[in-house]
């Protein structure tokens, strides 16, 4: 709720981005599953993702490319904590609404396992999907915007063979957009 209040406050400070006829830009973002459990047993920041996107906009609709890295905590064969990291490369479809102040986007593509547990060697190719249905866009100035996605869902499957290595990530994402 604090994030939403902050978004509301910032929205009051910035003007509406508007929807240009054509535009392109890049975005850098960082996301995490802020909390993955209930009171008393919460698991915080179980995963972290960083990424960059290039987006070309035709009016409300946009397409683009996605690059990123996603890392999360897991367990090894002895049930001890271990980590998994996957690189992501894909494409994105997006649509603006509320006069450019809200973006909804869907991305997907391939993953490459960078670091796994004892069961997985780096290298396998998998896939991911990422849904960000409501991203608040806050104009900072003519070129820069802050984009806040309070709730998104990413499904990352870096090793689809055998019993798949799969991670469900309910993330909050903070991004910075730049448009020339």
């Amino acid at each position: 709720m604090r994030r939403v209040a902050l978004a509301l406050a910032l929205a009051g400070c910035g003007g509406a981005p508007g929807i240009p006829e054509r535009a392109h830009g890049i975005q850098a973002d960082v996301g995490s599953s802020w909390v993955s459990d209930g009171p008393g047993e919460a698991s915080y920041l179980r995963n972290v993702s960083v990424g960059a996107r290039y987006r070309y906009q035709w009016g409300r609709f946009g397409v683009g490319g996605v690059w990123g890295v996603s890392a999360w905590r897991s367990k090894d064969l002895d049930d001890k904590d271990d980590g998994i990291m996957a690189g992501l490369l894909g494409a994105e479809l997006s649509v603006l609404s509320a006069n450019g102040r809200v973006r909804s986007d869907l991305s997907g593509g391939l993953t490459r396992l960078i670091e796994g547990t004892e069961l997985d060697q780096p290298g396998p190719i998998g896939f991911f999907a990422d849904v960000r249905p409501v991203t608040y866009r806050i104009t900072l100035n003519d070129r820069w915007r802050l984009a806040l996605t309070p709730a998104s869902l990413a499904l990352v499957v870096p090793e689809p063979s055998g019993i798949p290595l799969l991670d469900v990530q309910f993330r909050g994402v903070v991004a910075v957009e730049w448009q020339p």
Partner: protein, 541 residues
């Protein structure tokens, strides 16, 4: 702790038939076959005073409601039963959910051959005919090892051992169990799997071939080298055509339990050694010997004249010596869950699984795509004050560590309130049903949530954010708690859409809301952090 072992005799059989665990997608073979074996022992053992049950509140609540227990069974008897069943389940789950994919990977795709021998399966390097023999020897060693651990636990006073049992909606619950019986359960599991994961002679006395799971599920199996793929069909103990194997499993499970009692409690290994050795020529009771034995002629050839083994042993080329169970063993072979073999994606039924997962979790995408077609214009209408809304929600996935990936709940709510400009005060009556999936698929009554909160409308009512706080009340008895238990409820709506359908009427769609539903806050906690997708209709007046 001798009394504990005596108590095995007091457990009566239930109907049921392996090898599979009681889950939402398989029958309770291991649990029921084991209970059936214990029931047969009723006539061979005498009861003695029971040892006390540990003073653990969770354990006592579970024992009071233990599924399958007879009403007249004492708490101590149920403790014995629970300890054995937890041990029988353990090799397949190690205390995790059967829907916890990451845990399943660690348990079943472990390349260490010892992990495969615990299930009567080949290790990844157990190739060819020699691999059959290696797996048989390894499985026998596993049974011995578990009985030895049971003996050690018994000699150490058989203190309770903290095992993990996964329960729907609670997750992993630490439960004290009798350590010796836990290890006996693991030994029984290996023995039972050595019947469903192998091809045996028609009289079930000898193993002619051992199946392979790890290579099959990784998509690397070559039958001539790695053996037949594990067959789900062979795991279905209730099949009529597998009745002789089922009967042999029950008889040998009885024999193993009796032999383990003699070894652990009386210090007499005679029965155990007899069971894990070839039957003598004059053996009168074949269930008391040769439980896990390879075809003698083939074993002799492998040891003495390996060049003759191909001609003597059972292989793919001779249909495993025209094995009578081969048609069943060819059904439902194990394979990659998604049909992937580390290569471009292929598409067996496993893809349906992930497609279902994606659709469940990402159906928001399709809804989103459909909704993108709706007008996105900024909306404004004459000020209205009061509102009521009805909505439904669906929450299929969990990202909770060590929890089932699929954790389905669904329900609906009635909301109402009053607006002060863009701010709204709201009251909520919310009902959420929980779908259980660990032992069977059940739709549980779930919880009733009551709350009050606030909402704020952004962008002329196009986006709604909100927060509700209140209480969550459990509506059904669980294994550990009673209906009526009440805890906190909160729901955060970080951004939902509103489209005007007609004057005063709005279609609402929240792709993600986060509802923390915790009717039971004492340990072990019961509750969920639901990521809901919610759709509804609102009327303002």
């Amino acid at each position: 702790m001798r009394a504990v072992w005596m108590a095995l005799a007091l457990l009566l059989p239930t109907t049921g038939h392996a090898y599979t665990l009681s889950t939402s997608i398989s029958d309770s073979c291991h649990e029921v076959l084991t209970a059936q074996a214990l029931g047969v022992l009723l006539q061979e053992l005498q009861s003695e005073p029971m040892n006390p049950v540990p003073n653990d509140a969770t354990l006592r609540r579970l024992l009071a409601r233990l599924p399958g227990a007879r009403p007249e069974q004492s708490e101590a008897e149920r403790y014995v039963q629970l300890s054995l069943i937890v041990g029988v389940r353990a090799p397949d789950t190690e205390g995790h959910s059967t829907l916890d994919l990451n845990a399943l990977r660690r348990v079943h795709a472990d390349p260490d051959p010892v992990g495969q021998y615990a299930h009567g399966l080949r290790g990844p390097n157990d190739d060819g005919i020699a691999g059959d023999l290696a797996a048989v020897i390894g499985t026998r060693a596993q049974i011995r090892a578990e009985v030895e651990k049971a003996r050690q636990a018994f000699e150490d006073g058989d203190r309770s051992f903290q095992a993990s049992l996964y329960l729907d909606h609670y997750g992993q619950v630490p439960i004290p169990v009798i350590k010796s019986l836990y290890h006996l359960g693991r030994a029984v599991h290996a023995l039972q799997d050595a019947h469903s994961h192998t091809l045996r002679t028609a009289d079930t006395m000898h193993i002619v071939h051992v199946m392979n799971y790890v290579d099959a599920v990784n998509g690397h199996l070559s039958e001539g080298r790695d053996g037949m793929a594990h067959s789900d069909a062979m795991d279905h103990c209730q099949r009529d055509d597998l009745a002789p194997i089922r009967e042999a499993v029950v008889a040998r499970s009885v024999a193993l339990i009796a032999a383990s009692y003699a070894a652990v409690v009386l210090g007499d290994d005679t029965l155990l050694e007899q069971g894990l050795s070839p039957c003598a020529d004059n053996a009168t009771d074949p269930t008391r010997c040769g439980w896990v034995e390879y075809l003698p002629a083939c074993e002799a050839a492998l040891n003495d004249a390996p060049e003759t083994a191909e001609a003597v042993c059972c292989t793919q080329d001779n249909d495993y010596c025209d094995n009578p169970w081969l048609p069943v063993a060819r059904e439902d072979p194990a394979g990659p869950y998604l049909g992937c073999q580390g290569a471009p994606l292929a598409g067996p039924a496993g893809w349906a699984w992930l497609a279902g997962l994606l659709l469940l979790g990402l159906r928001r995408r399709w809804l989103l795509a459909a909704l993108l077609a709706l007008p996105f214009g900024v909306q404004a209408e004459a000020p209205r004050r009061a509102f009521v809304a009805a909505e439904g929600h669906f929450a299929p996935l969990s990202d909770r560590p060590d929890f089932a990936v699929l954790d389905l709940s669904f329900g609906g709510a009635v909301r109402g309130g009053y607006a002060f400009g863009a701010w709204r005060v709201v009251g909520v009556v919310d009902r959420s049903w929980f779908v259980g999936s660990e032992f069977d698929i059940t739709v549980d009554p779930g919880v009733l949530n009551l709350g009050v909160g606030a909402e704020y409308l952004l962008f002329d009512g196009f986006i709604r954010v909100g927060l509700v706080l209140g209480t969550s009340t459990l509506l059904h008895d669980t294994l550990l708690d009673d209906a009526g238990a009440t805890g906190p409820f909160s729901e955060v709506r970080p951004g939902g859409f509103r489209w005007q359908a007609f004057e005063g009427g709005w279609i609402t769609f929240d792709p993600f809301t986060v509802a923390a539903v915790w009717p039971v806050v004492h340990k072990p906690r019961l509750g969920k952090l639901q990521r809901r997708t919610t759709a509804g209709f609102e009327y303002t007046f």
